[in-house]
């Protein structure tokens, strides 16, 4: 031990400094690893979803042939002679989404045009938050609205309409999607530089002509992406159809009839507490897998469109 000549314990101070520095180095090294672990959880969630769906779906297809499932027009999951054909659910899903988009695309796009091109700044600032309220209402409330208000209202016009049908939830779903289409399209249109509008106006175009021939074509990638995301949202929407479209597994294209969508089937089967190990239980995963693939493809298409066809200004 070397002797310390002065009153100051310099060596001690150096040792202390080294120690705190080394703790700091350890912390500095540890933190990014911990954070990486946390960030990995979102990836694990995706893997978890894929794995659970895949493993159970494989078992389902061991019992029910792949082709029978995707070409079967009959779905009768209960009873002795259960038949699993997904087409009734697919038509239900596609019909309700189509009806929703017939409502959401024109109204959403026209709303976006009004907000981006015609409304004054002040009007825009009052209207946008109100539309956001529409977007923030839980879907169960829309389901209640479809079931207790829209269906009875439609029944007074359309005599053949069943108490549960695919038309009313389709329309209400469209109303729910309007704010989404409107806000995404408006973002795309607002990104079109004013110089382009002014150029067209200077050539003598009216505002409508500027909108339809300059702004909309320039923003078309964002607008189409908003439509595709809207469709994806409609396909995945659950509570509105679970309440208002009924549970009959009809294979039909008649929108006045009660039909079931893929999402509503999942809710019905899990709500009935399907015993693990039954084919009914595994059918849940096959339907969920189909639904997952549909929405994933839609989302990827939307991302592709907005990336590929974006015009940079």
């Amino acid at each position: 031990m070397p002797e310390s000549g002065t009153g100051l314990d310099v060596r001690g101070m150096i040792a202390k400094k080294r120690k705190s520095a080394s703790i700091r180095t350890v912390v500095e090294k540890l933190v990014p690893r911990i954070l990486f672990g946390i960030a990995a959880i979102s990836v694990l969630t995706t893997i978890g979803i894929l794995l659970t769906l895949l493993t159970e779906t494989v078992i389902f297809f061991e019992r029910v042939p792949f082709l029978d499932f995707f070409t079967g027009t009959k779905l009768k999951p209960l009873g002795e002679e259960a038949v699993f054909g997904v087409l009734p659910l697919l038509t239900g899903t596609l019909l309700s989404s189509a009806i929703a988009m017939v409502v959401a695309i024109p109204i959403g796009l026209m709303t976006a045009i009004f907000l981006s091109e015609y409304a004054s700044e002040k009007l825009r600032r009052t209207l946008k938050p109100l539309l956001e309220i529409l977007a923030g209402i839980p879907t169960i409330v829309y389901g209640f609205f479809a079931f207790t208000f829209v269906t009875p209202l439609l029944r007074s016009f359309i005599p053949g309409l069943e108490p549960t049908n695919i038309l009313s939830p389709g329309i209400v779903m469209g109303i729910m999607i309007i704010p989404m289409v409107a806000s995404l399209s408006e973002d795309a249109m607002s990104a079109v530089p004013n110089a382009m509008r002014e150029g067209a106006l200077a050539l003598g175009a009216t505002k409508l002509e500027v909108t339809l021939k300059v702004v909309v074509p320039a923003a078309i990638s964002g607008i189409i992406a908003s439509f595709v995301l809207g469709i994806s949202r409609a396909i995945g929407e659950t509570m509105i159809v679970a309440i208002a479209s009924g549970s009959s597994k009809n294979f039909t294209f008649d929108v006045t009839q009660s039909m079931q969508t893929m999402t509503a089937y999942i809710v019905e089967v899990t709500g009935g507490e399907a015993a693990a190990g039954t084919t009914l239980y595994y059918s849940l995963y096959a339907v969920a897998m189909t639904l997952f693939v549909f929405t994933l493809v839609m989302n990827l298409v939307a991302q592709y469109i907005s990336r590929k066809f974006r015009e940079e200004y």
Partner: protein, 294 residues
């Protein structure tokens, strides 16, 4: 040679201006359409709930008798659910955002995780319900309790928190970080002492919005297996529970049998909307009051 036939232009001008005017009104009407539906929806729900919301309705337990039924269980269930979702989603969301913005900036890994998160945001909520049912409720054998529902919901709303936190962290100007490095601080010290405090309002706004999304979701919890009539009040994260929107679902579907259930559903919706409105107002308030503009 004449390039423009003035007479021709003159002749068309009237129709062009008329079309413009008509289109403007049409665009305005379609903007109003959404708002009119909003007004009708709220009017209908409130009208149906009148006379049904009173102290008994709030404080009573569930019951098959519409006159005695109350939503105390669903309110407590909602609070317990928030108690699980808030910390879990905050830790996961903020941690992911810090990693993506501060440590993995512009790397391939960042791109991968980012794409993964935006795809996760597009997965239907009912599929998250299947994940929760399979992993939390069955594989971990938790059953349909608060913890299982809360973890499922936390994963469902995770993208909301991640994106909001990323935006908040990105808004902290680089010179603040550099000043901190200049004082000798390490990277983590800079994040902990400079970046996080500066981005806290934005993060909190995101967490509140995520929570309000979580307590309005129905499908994942129905899939996990929440019973239609649950009498005992939840007393911890390992108890069975129900929340307001799930109660709305069961009362609405059963209103074909007992007509008064529709009124109970409407009354529950009013309470739910008030809660959501309050939460969103708080989020906006935080954003406007504490958000620093750099």
């Amino acid at each position: 040679m004449k390039y423009v036939d003035a007479a021709q232009v003159q002749k068309k001008m009237g129709t062009r201006l008329l079309a413009n005017k008509l289109a403007k009104n049409l665009f305005f009407l379609s903007t109003l359409f959404g708002l009119i539906v909003l007004v009708i929806l709220i009017y209908r729900v409130v009208a149906q709930s009148i006379g049904w919301i009173d102290a008994d309705f709030i404080f009573n337990k569930l019951s098959t008798d519409p006159e005695k039924a109350g939503i105390m269980g669903a309110i407590l269930g909602t609070l317990w659910l928030m108690a699980v979702v808030a910390p879990v989603t905050m830790v996961l969301g903020v941690g992911t955002a810090i990693y993506l913005e501060e440590y993995a900036k512009k790397s391939r890994l960042q791109g991968f995780i980012q794409t993964n998160i935006s795809n996760l945001a597009g997965v239907p909520s009912v599929v998250f319900g299947i994940l929760g049912l399979t992993v939390f409720a069955r594989a971990l054998d938790l059953g349909s309790v608060v913890l299982a529902g809360g973890l499922t919901m936390a994963l469902l709303v995770l993208p909301v928190v991640v994106v909001a936190s990323q935006e908040a962290i990105r808004a902290v100007p680089q010179y603040l970080r550099e000043a901190s490095y200049g004082m000798g601080a390490t990277k983590w010290q800079t994040i902990k002492n400079i970046v996080l405090p500066a981005s806290l309002p934005g993060i909190l706004t995101g967490v509140i919005l995520a929570l309000s999304r979580a307590i309005g979701e129905t499908a994942p919890l129905v899939v996990i297996g929440i019973p239609a009539l649950l009498i005992p009040l939840p007393d911890g994260v390992l108890d069975k529970f129900t929340i307001l929107p799930v109660q709305v679902y069961y009362w609405t579907t059963d209103s074909a049998l007992v007509a008064e259930y529709a009124n109970l559903a409407a009354a529950t919706i009013v309470i739910l909307l008030i809660v959501l409105f309050a939460m969103n107002s708080v989020a906006i308030l935080i954003r406007n009051k504490f958000q620093k503009r750099f």
